[in-house]
Symmetry: C2
Subunit: 424 residues, 2 copies
């Protein structure tokens, strides 16, 4: 096949007829396929089924003698902190373990800053109109936190090596209202981008007009590699400290996509000043997180090496699904000049770019044919993709056969929408 745009009018009409026939055939199948959210599959959850029974009825004492059943332990059990220290790249003393959700830790960190500021703030962030930098496409739930709390979002492009740094540096240096920036620095949601060492260095070192500017460093996919050869991510806390901005980054992570998505353990890591601040606030919010679940995780994974090794089993389940997506995209869209997509080395998503102005139509067509995709625009602040071209494909949850079936539909939808856009 040649590029769609180069086909003769007659050939385009023939192709359209053929695609419409295939599309109608999909519709007739009454498919019900859901490719919307980055949830682990039942098979992935099974990998950790022994987590549920990792503790005996008599096993509740942590290494420091803490009774994990009782109150207390605001920042986590020592052995759980040790695992997150390696995952997040900080000394254990600079780790705070939370409940089951790193999203909640990010949300609450933003809320505390709105009400009280952070170390270095002149006043609570909520006293004035503030802004966050949002590399896009990005994670919809990050953007939802900003939108919900009235934080203005500034879209910055995401290149192959991370955010468009010239633009980030220009904005952050010039506007003191910019207090934060969302970053998914490894296998970014949805593009799979890993920030280069140079991008990390520049983020750590750049001049900020606001003395209390913060990087919200959501290292959600720290150990979520699909291949033996993994993307390397520079340590942002070290980079910030070396650049003389030790309090700039707050790093978040969890075991949600390692053990159980809804019953894992989350943590954050940062500078001593930020950690002291987090503890001061969280001591008011809670007596402490669930330490039994921490102990359960420690017994199951044993240590960080055990956790990393566990991720290889996830990769074996996920890799065929990711490769099915990119293989079908290459097969059906490879020479058409109407789409581009990522081939990530890890994470949970494939990012598909259509021709400008086609993404919503593709999602609509797929939905009518029984394939639910993440809403077009969801990967941009306010749900508005300025070019209406990005679609997030989440292949993790459905069985492989369903992923293939869904992608067969999606490519037909992409071609149909493209032909209509080009004018058949």
């Amino acid at each position: 096949m040649t590029e769609l745009a180069k086909l003769s009018a007659a050939d385009r009409a023939t192709l359209t007829q053929e695609l419409e026939r295939r599309y109608d055939a999909f519709k007739a199948q009454g498919l019900k396929l859901d490719m919307t959210r980055g949830k682990p599959s039942a098979e992935q959850l099974e990998l950790a089924s022994k987590l549920t029974v990792a503790l005996s009825a008599e096993d509740y004492k942590a290494s420091d003698g803490t009774d994990a059943r009782n109150y207390g332990g605001l920042d986590g059990l020592p052995e759980m902190k040790a695992i997150f220290a390696e995952m997040l790249g900080a000394p254990a003393a600079q780790v705070v373990v939370g409940g089951a959700s790193s999203l909640q830790m990010m949300h609450d960190t933003v809320v505390r800053a709105l009400l009280h500021g952070v170390p270095g703030s002149k006043e609570a962030w909520g006293k004035t109109k503030i802004k966050f930098i949002c590399p896009s496409p990005g994670y919809d739930r990050h953007f939802a936190i900003c939108e919900h709390h009235g934080i203005e979002m500034l879209v910055v492009g995401l290149n192959d090596d991370g955010p468009d740094m010239a633009e980030v540096e220009r904005l952050v240096a010039s506007d003191p209202a910019i207090r934060g920036m969302w970053c998914v620095p490894k296998y970014s949601n949805p593009t799979g981008t890993t920030y280069s060492a140079e991008v990390v260095r520049r983020l750590a070192a750049m001049k900020a007009a606001a003395p209390d500017f913060r990087l919200f460093w959501d290292n959600a996919y720290a150990v979520h590699d699909l291949y033996a050869e993994t993307d390397a991510l520079a340590n942002v806390l070290t980079a910030c400290a070396e650049a003389g901005n030790p309090d700039r980054a707050i790093v978040f992570g969890s075991t949600s996509k390692i053990s159980f998505a809804g019953a894992g353990v989350a943590a954050l890591a940062s500078s001593p000043a930020n950690i002291a601040d987090v503890k001061k606030h969280s001591a008011i919010q809670t007596i402490g997180p669930d330490k039994m679940n921490q102990l359960r995780h420690v017994r199951f994974f044993k240590d960080y090496a055990g956790l990393v090794s566990h991720m290889k089993k996830h990769a074996e389940l996920l890799r065929p699904k990711f490769e099915a997506v990119t293989e079908i995209f290459a097969r059906d869209l490879g020479d058409q000049g109407v789409a581009a997509w990522t081939k990530p080395h890890g994470g949970y998503f494939v990012s598909l770019d259509t021709l400008d102005g086609c993404a919503s139509e593709v999602v609509r067509l797929a939905d009518v044919a029984g394939v639910k995709l993440t809403a077009a625009g969801a990967t941009f602040p306010y749900g508005k993709d300025p070019r209406d071209r990005n679609i997030r494909i989440a292949p993790s949850m459905p069985p492989l056969a369903q992923v293939r079936a869904a992608m067969d539909v999606v490519t037909v939808c992409v071609l149909l929408a493209s032909l209509r856009k080009l004018g058949i």
Copy 2:
């Protein structure tokens, strides 16, 4: 013995010498007794030891088919909601299950109101200086939330049937800055007071200058009875609805002092409008709480009746400790005219009132003799007991012999401080 104040100067001097001799003997023992916090004892935690192993590796499906391991389930599993519906006195549809900490649900409810207001608010509570009514003595962590977030606290006295309602009604009707009131309506911390039906009715029906006034109804001790004959608490949600103030009360509870203090399940219940508001905000904060721990609790308790029946075992462990405290107080302080104390039917505390101006000195003396008590003043807003007389005794955690040993010390300290106050 007769009242201390009626003793002759000579008798008082003799008694003081005798008490000082006993006090020095205690000091010489090198005691290390901690009566500070309302934590369950190891024996109480053992009662739920099978909770840890209540789930098999294959047990993760809720009654509605939800995989409790995966993401989702913002308001809780149906069977967990059913248990809290009975505990908190609301239809299951008006229950939101949270993580392990009801304190966190209360804190976050206050924070959401500060940033966004509640149904009926003209603006976010944080836009202006606001105030909460704080019946005192009360729970220090409630007061800490207010102090931390700059909410002014108005102290109102606590009578045998609940807060001084004439004063509450006068304040709430006259000051629109009063937006909230902390209530521990059953076996109140620390006095053991249960609000009468008439007090609940008046709280529900009273005129409020602020249209968005809220009762933060911390029913922490809903099923925490020491005796077969229990205090009855009227349903505040029903009372509010009947009084035409359906959105006035938000009820909180947890299994913290039922299963594991640090690894239980918390929930809130309120009107449909408040529940919709809570869900709207918490959908931004988290993908959902730990449903595996909910399922674990459901399997262990089976249903609400199972949970209530479990509490009888707690009562058997706690009752002797509470009775030891009040028995030693009666033995040593009964006729002295220098102290009054509560004899609660449930909850976690005995409240001791000394002569005015003696509480800090008693706590200091006890500390020197190796008995740690909750800091004097802790049961009042800003840590300031205006009469310096209230001491919270927490007998749950130490073994019975230690409770007795500690109380032997405390009564000597009370008598010594009283004699010095009266002028020996």
